[in-house]
Each structure stands twice: as structure tokens, then as C-alpha cells.
């Protein structure tokens, strides 16, 4: 079957160049002498249109959006409510960093290194996701949440006890190879990928399983396959996000990947509206920008009010606006028009 030059491929290529352009515009123009500098260029001083601080916030935003969308697949689409998603992020982060620092030979060209790192990070995360997915097949609701919480913590504690990746001190000197271009491109690819899934027979089936697993079974579909596949894809994406995080920050600490992080990702989904891709994006964006806004408050008053306001906001939204910003009540799930 000949893969014709169809809309999707056109879109992907378009995103590629668009992201490249954005990065240059915002970070300043690089020298065009070698491909590495074009692809990996990051701002040194404030050479571009925005300050390095905002630049790094944008990168973080991208990472959070990928995380949020990855969880939506599991939660909002398939109805599997997990509370250990940060664990997959951690695996991706540490696996990719370890691969890059210990496994991949120095001589490899930069962009190949990055791609390998990301694939390894996502891949190992997907493997663990597969194992966990298989073991929790029979669980749902609160029980699934608690078990995945347990797994998330076990993953974190295990990594904490591996000295080779720094243990309690954290892992440092990770090659920083992620810039705004790569994140933007990845975000757009991930969103497109997820949307495709949603519009496909797989998406329908996932939603069906979420609504009524028994009925799905009686319509001839074995939910097991879909559930495990969703776990694998979701954990791959989370691992990818984790790897991006590692190669953006340059250092890792297991503290980052605790249950609180898992809860943050859940909050992104919930605020945006469960089951909606646009919601996941907005949720991810909001929950990146707002804490930074609170940082100002914190500097002013000297008290860390972020978590309190966070927790309060989530609780209030749950009570008064349970469907989130883009969620559905009785109408169709709301989405950005261009996401259709």
C-alpha cells in the first residue's frame, strides 16, 4: 500500500519548520554552519525576543502538556484512573540520562543521540507500563488508583536506592539537548498522535471500555488488549516527557517524581476536563504558568503558598465545576475547533 502524501504527513512537516522558526525567532538566530547548531540552538544571553527565563518556562510548559496528554489517554479516554504516572516520567528521565551518559558512544552525532535517548527513555517506560498494565487488568476505580500509587512509590524508592544514578544526591551533568524547537515539535506530534487515536476505532473502543467494560466485552471486544496497549502508549509518552525533562534541566532528583507530581498531572487533566485533548493542553499550560505567578507572591511574602492555593483550587473546581474547563456535561465534549 503506497503511503500517499496525505494530510497528516504534510502537517508534520509543517510543524517541523514552524517549530524551528519559532525557536529561532524567540531565541535569536544561530549560525547556519552546521546542522547541530540549527537544531539544538538555545539562547545564551538574552539574544532573542524573550528572556531565557521565559524560554525555560515555555519548555517546561511543553513537557507538562505532553505529560498531561499522556495521562488523558489512560484516564480520560480509557477510564483507568492511575495515581502513579510520575513513576513513568521518572523511568524515562533516568533511563534516557543513563543511556546517554553510559551507553551511547560519545562520537554519535548530537541529534541521533537525542533521538536514541528519547526512544530509550520512552521505551523502557513503556516496558514497565506493559508489566504494570497487565497486572492491574482486573482492578478499577479506587483500587486501581491505590495500586498505581503504590507502584509509583516503589519505582521512586527503587531509583532512590540505585547509586549508579546518584541515589539520594541526584543525577547531575546530564547533557542538555532539548530546546524550544524540539519540545514544540514533540508537543505537536504527540497531540496529533493522540487526536488520531481519539478519532479512530481505538478511541471509540477506549471510551466504550471506560463507560461500560462489560458491555464492550459483549460486543465482541476483548478489553484486555486495548487496556494494555493504552498503558503502553501512555507510559511511553510519559517516559518521553521525562526524558525531555532530564535533558532540559540537566539534573534529576527523585524528589521531583513523588506522588505530588502524579497528582499535579491528574490536576492538569481535571482542570482541563477529563477526556478532552484541548483540556489536557490547557490544564498543562495553566498548571505551569500559575505556579510561576505564585512564585512572585512567594518572593513577596516569604511563604510557600503555592501548594495551598493549588490544593484549594483543585478542591473547589471539583466541587463547583466538576467537568473542568473543556469537559462535557450532556453536550459533546468541547474542543478547540482546530483540533477537530
Amino acid at each position: 500500500m503506497k503511503l500517499q502524501f496525505n494530510k497528516t504527513i504534510f502537517l508534520i512537516l509543517g510543524f517541523f519548520f514552524f517549530s524551528l522558526l519559532m525557536n529561532w525567532a524567540l531565541a535569536g538566530f544561530p549560525s547556519f554552519s552546521e546542522i547541530n547548531s540549527i537544531l539544538f540552538f538555545k539562547p545564551g544571553r538574552s539574544e532573542g525576543l524573550i528572556s531565557p527565563y521565559i524560554y525555560s518556562i515555555l519548555i517546561l510548559l511543553g513537557i507538562n502538556v505532553i505529560l498531561s496528554v499522556s495521562l488523558t489517554l489512560l484516564n480520560g479516554f480509557c477510564g483507568m484512573f492511575t495515581m502513579g504516572h510520575a513513576g513513568f516520567m521518572a523511568i524515562g528521565a533516568y533511563a534516557s540520562s543513563s543511556a546517554m551518559m553510559f551507553l551511547i558512544p560519545e562520537a554519535t552525532p548530537l541529534f541521533l543521540k537525542l533521538i536514541l535517548g528519547l526512544l530509550i527513555g520512552g521505551g523502557i517506560s513503556a516496558l514497565i507500563g506493559f508489566l504494570i498494565g497487565i497486572s492491574v487488568l482486573r482492578l478499577n476505580g479506587d483500587y486501581l488508583g491505590m495500586v498505581t500509587l503504590g507502584f509509583g512509590e516503589i519505582i521512586r524508592i527503587t531509583i532512590l536506592n540505585i547509586d549508579a544514578v546518584g541515589g539520594a544526591r541526584g543525577m547531575t551533568d546530564i547533557p542538555q539537548m532539548i530546546n524550544l524547537f524540539s519540545i514544540m515539535f514533540l508537543v505537536l506530534v504527540v497531540v496529533l498522535f493522540t487526536k488520531r487515536i481519539r478519532d479512530s476505532k481505538y478511541g471509540r473502543t477506549m471510551f466504550a471500555i471506560k463507560e461500560n467494560e462489560l458491555a464492550t466485552r459483549l460486543m465482541g471486544i476483548n478489553p484486555t488488549n486495548i487496556k494494555v496497549q493504552t498503558f503502553v502508549i501512555s507510559s511511553f509518552l510519559a517516559g518521553l516527557a521525562g526524558a525531555c525533562f532530564a535533558h532540559s534541566e540537566g539534573y534529576l532528583s527523585t524528589q521531583t517524581f513523588s506522588f505530588v507530581k502524579s497528582f499535579e498531572i491528574i490536576a492538569m487533566n481535571v482542570i482541563g476536563g477529563l477526556g478532552s485533548i484541548s483540556g489536557a493542553i490547557i490544564g498543562g499550560a495553566l498548571l505551569t504558568i500559575l505556579p510561576e505567578g505564585f512564585r512572585v507572591l512567594q518572593d513577596f511574602t516569604g511563604i510557600d503558598l503555592r501548594m495551598i492555593i493549588y490544593a484549594l483550587t483543585i478542591t473547589l473546581i471539583m466541587i463547583f465545576l466538576p467537568q473542568g474547563l473543556f469537559g462535557s456535561k450532556k453536550g459533546k465534549v468541547k474542543e478547540f475547533p482546530w483540533l477537530k
Binding site: 484516564n75 484512573f81 497486572s135 492491574v136 482486573r138 482492578l139 476505580g141 479506587d142 483500587y143 488508583g145 491505590m146 495500586v147 503504590g150 507502584f151 512509590e153 516503589i154 524508592i157 536506592n161 462489560l214 505530588v260 497528582f263 491528574i266 490536576a267 481535571v270 477529563l274 511563604i303 510557600d304 503558598l305 501548594m307 495551598i308 493549588y310 490544593a311 484549594l312 483543585i314 478542591t315 471539583m318 466541587i319 466538576p322
Partner: protein
């Protein structure tokens, strides 16, 4: 052998504290099918309430009577807090999907934790010794702290009172009716809201008592202390069969003992992981727990 007995004593002491917290989880789950994520933090608030009351009292002499008084005050405070959380956080969500309620519970939990940091300061504080500490020695190197004995007996006393309440009173009957079927219970005239409120009060009060006892046993307390013990008590409740009161106690003692054995014989870094491992094993093998029963869904 002596080591084993020592560990057993410590394990029982720890288990009794877990039991008090586990009971709260199980009671609330029984009536509302809700995992009250904030329960561990109510435990923490109880501990601090006890601490501040103690400072306020500033007793000149340590005594068991003072300890009991502190426990009671803490119970009152946490009980009221639990009731408030139920009224403001959970009651409006009675008809909401499970996920939403769980997230609300988590939100409340985090709010209590970080609010606690704000109020009490993030650094740990210390429970002053309020009981005369004597040590009994057996067979050489087995020590039994008088603290441990008192804690154990206070915990057991409270459990006995709960047992009476649940199985021998009108309230208990109503509570058990609701845990079987909320709709039916309300149809036969039970004031469901009132019973749920009281259930929360009692469950939270027990957690508050546990908080004080914990402070007496391990004097260091801080606003984030509720997380781990709360989670472990939850595992204990699940192990025994969530919703089952006797099960919660059994599960708690099993957990307390095994945790102490693991820390003693294997390594203390893995003691916290044990609870998670047990949780996963139980939920994967027999989710109903030791004493739990499977509910058959109508197809």
C-alpha cells in the same frame, strides 16, 4: 528469641496505633464507599492539637491522667475537623463520579498538609514527656516501655468502646445498615446524613487519638507526618478487608508486626516499601482482603 519478643512487643505497639487510624478509613469506606485521603492528615492535626493543648496546660508533673486528657482533647478537635470536612468537602459530592471525589479528598489532604506547614511551621516539633517512663526488663534484654503499655491499653480501650458502639447500639446498627445499602437505609427512616456525620466524627476522633499516642511514642512530629502512617493504615484496612471493622484491626496488627520484623531482621530502608508491596499483593490477589466479601454486580 529475645529479639523476636522485643520486635513483637514493638510491633504490637505500632499496630495498635495503626489500628486506630485504619478503623477510621474502614468506617468511612463502609458508609460512603470513599477512601478518605485526608484521614492521615486528620491524624496529624490530632497530634498537633494534642501538642498545643499540652503546652497550654503545662502540667508540672507528668501523669497518665494528663495523657488521657490530652488524648480526649485531641479526639474532640479531630472529630470536629472530620465532620467539617465531610460537610464542606464530601457531602456536596455525594452524586459525583468517583474520580472527582477522590481528587477532592486528595486536594483536602494536601491543603491540610501545607496549611499545617504554614500554621505550625515546617520543622518538626517535639512532644514533651508527659508520663513517667519506667522500663520493665524481662529475661535480660527485653525492654517494655511503660509508654508502650499505656499506649497499647489506651488504643485497645478505644477499640473496645468502638466495638460496643458499632455492635450494641442503635447508632451502630444504623451505620451498618447504611454500609449495606445507603438507599435502603434512608428508605427505612434512618437519618443518613446524621449517621454519616457521626461516623466521620468517630473515625476522625480515633485518628486524633492515634496522633497523640504516636507523639507519645515517637516524640518527633511535623505537618507531613500524616502521609506515610495514613497510607500504611489504609493498607492495613485493605488487608483486613476494607469496610470490615474487625478486619481493620487485624490488618493493622499484621502490618505493624511485619513492618517491625522487616526493619529488625532485614533492613530498615525497606520498611516503608513493605506497606506498598502488601497493598499491591492484596489488591492483585484478593482485593476483598482477609475478612472482606465480594459484592456481586447485577448484570
Amino acid at each position: 528469641m529475645n529479639e523476636f519478643i522485643q520486635h513483637t512487643i514493638n510491633g504490637l505497639s505500632l499496630g495498635s496505633i495503626y489500628a486506630l487510624v485504619a478503623l477510621g478509613y474502614t468506617m468511612v469506606f463502609g458508609v460512603l464507599q470513599l477512601i478518605n485521603f485526608a484521614h492521615g492528615d486528620i491524624f496529624m492535626i490530632g497530634s498537633f492539637a494534642g501538642l498545643y493543648f499540652l503546652r497550654f496546660l503545662s502540667p508540672s508533673q507528668p501523669s497518665v491522667g494528663v495523657a488521657l486528657l490530652v488524648v480526649l482533647v485531641a479526639m474532640l478537635c479531630s472529630g470536629l475537623l472530620g465532620m467539617t470536612i465531610e460537610k464542606l468537602g464530601y457531602r456536596p459530592m455525594r452524586k459525583a463520579p468517583r474520580i472527582n471525589i477522590l481528587i477532592t479528598a486528595i486536594g483536602i489532604s494536601l491543603f491540610l498538609e501545607y496549611g499545617g506547614q504554614l500554621l505550625f511551621g515546617a520543622s518538626p516539633q517535639f512532644f514533651p514527656p508527659i508520663m513517667e517512663k519506667t522500663q520493665f526488663h524481662f529475661f535480660g534484654d527485653i525492654t517494655l516501655d511503660s509508654n508502650q503499655v499505656i499506649i497499647f491499653f489506651i488504643a485497645c480501650g478505644l477499640m473496645a468502646i468502638l466495638q460496643f458502639l458499632v455492635f450494641k447500639t442503635q447508632f451502630g446498627r444504623a451505620m451498618r445498615a447504611i454500609s449495606h445499602s445507603l438507599e435502603t437505609a434512608s428508605l427505612i427512616g434512618i437519618n443518613v446524613n446524621k449517621i454519616i456525620r457521626i461516623t466521620f466524627f468517630i473515625g476522625s476522633a480515633l485518628a486524633g487519638a492515634a496522633g497523640v499516642l504516636y507523639g507519645l511514642a515517637y516524640p518527633k512530629i511535623d505537618p507531613l507526618m500524616g502521609l506515610l502512617p495514613g497510607l500504611k493504615a489504609f493498607v492495613a484496612a485493605v488487608l483486613g478487608g476494607i469496610g470490615n471493622i474487625t478486619g481493620a484491626v487485624i490488618g493493622a496488627f499484621i502490618l505493624g508486626l511485619s513492618e517491625t520484623y522487616v526493619a529488625g531482621y532485614i533492613s530498615s530502608t525497606y520498611r516503608d516499601a513493605l506497606a506498598f508491596v502488601i497493598l499491591i499483593l492484596v489488591l492483585l490477589i484478593k482485593p476483598a482482603g482477609i475478612l472482606g466479601t465480594k459484592k456481586i454486580e447485577k448484570v
